[in-house]
């Protein structure tokens, strides 16, 4: 299933869902990275993500780093309980922008 993206001005919101593992990361990157490279601010909505492993977390880290390099920002929105737990296990809650 393709992930949904909405755009409003300079803001792109990417809605990830389901289980994000290494089988899904390329799809997520292909969706997120072009918006970052275009200098847009990105919201990644994680409300409907039921499971995320290290591959998914890596996409969040790479997105954050690319955004900083591009002078823009990635914010994680409506983070599901299961994803928040993994972000905290990775000790990234102070590094990534969580909302």
């Amino acid at each position: 299933m393709a992930y949904k993206v909405t755009e409003e001005g300079n803001l792109a919101t990417v809605f990830l869902d389901g289980e994000i593992d290494m089988d899904k990361t390329e799809e997520a990157k292909e969706l997120i990275f072009p918006h970052i490279e275009a200098g847009k601010e990105i919201h990644i909505n994680l409300k409907n993500v039921e499971y995320m492993d290290s591959s998914g977390i890596s996409v969040l880290i790479e997105s954050h780093q690319k955004a900083m390099e591009a002078g823009t920002k990635v914010t994680l929105k409506e983070i599901s309980k299961s994803v928040l737990k993994v972000i905290m296990m990775a000790k990234l809650e102070q590094i990534l922008n969580l909302d």
Binding site: M22, Y51, D53, K85, L92
Partner: protein
């Protein structure tokens, strides 16, 4: 095709070594932990550790190459100790090269091994007995 053997304390199943199998690995693990009556939080952590170890087999032992090889996962519970075994026929693991991410090193790689070590009590790489090449053992006292 996969084979499955079940008894009250131990279950095993084999999976094609491919990223598309990870969903089945998680599903198998969840089913086993449901039978072991573990708490939801513990189940979620253990499923993550198992999926990360299986992912490492796909990514590192087989370097994402297409194969018809299977990996086997065995989950056992004995005297309140959980033992999870992974068997594969990929490249031999060089233990010295298995490193997890440092806590303050913010980069995408090495997180899976970091998670496994956070969740489990012990992580032991063994030489597999034939036909296996690698045998990884994760243990946790419940």
């Amino acid at each position: 095709m996969s084979s499955e053997k079940i008894n009250s304390k131990s279950e095993n199943k084999d999976f094609l070594v491919h990223s598309s199998s990870l969903k089945d690995v998680r599903s198998f693990s969840r089913d086993v932990f449901d039978k072991f009556n573990l708490s939801q939080d513990l189940k979620d952590e253990l499923v993550l550790a198992i999926a990360e170890a299986a992912q490492n087999i796909v990514k590192h032992a087989y370097q994402n190459e297409e194969t018809q090889d299977k990996m086997e996962i065995r989950i056992s519970l004995k005297n309140n100790e959980l033992e999870i075994g992974f068997f594969d026929k990929g490249r031999p693991v060089e233990k010295d090269n298995v490193r997890h991410r440092k806590i303050d090193d913010i980069k995408p790689g090495g997180l899976g091994t970091f998670f496994i070590q956070q969740i489990m009590d012990a992580v032991v790489f063994k030489e597999g007995s034939k036909p296996w090449i690698n045998h990884l053992v994760l243990t946790k006292k419940l």
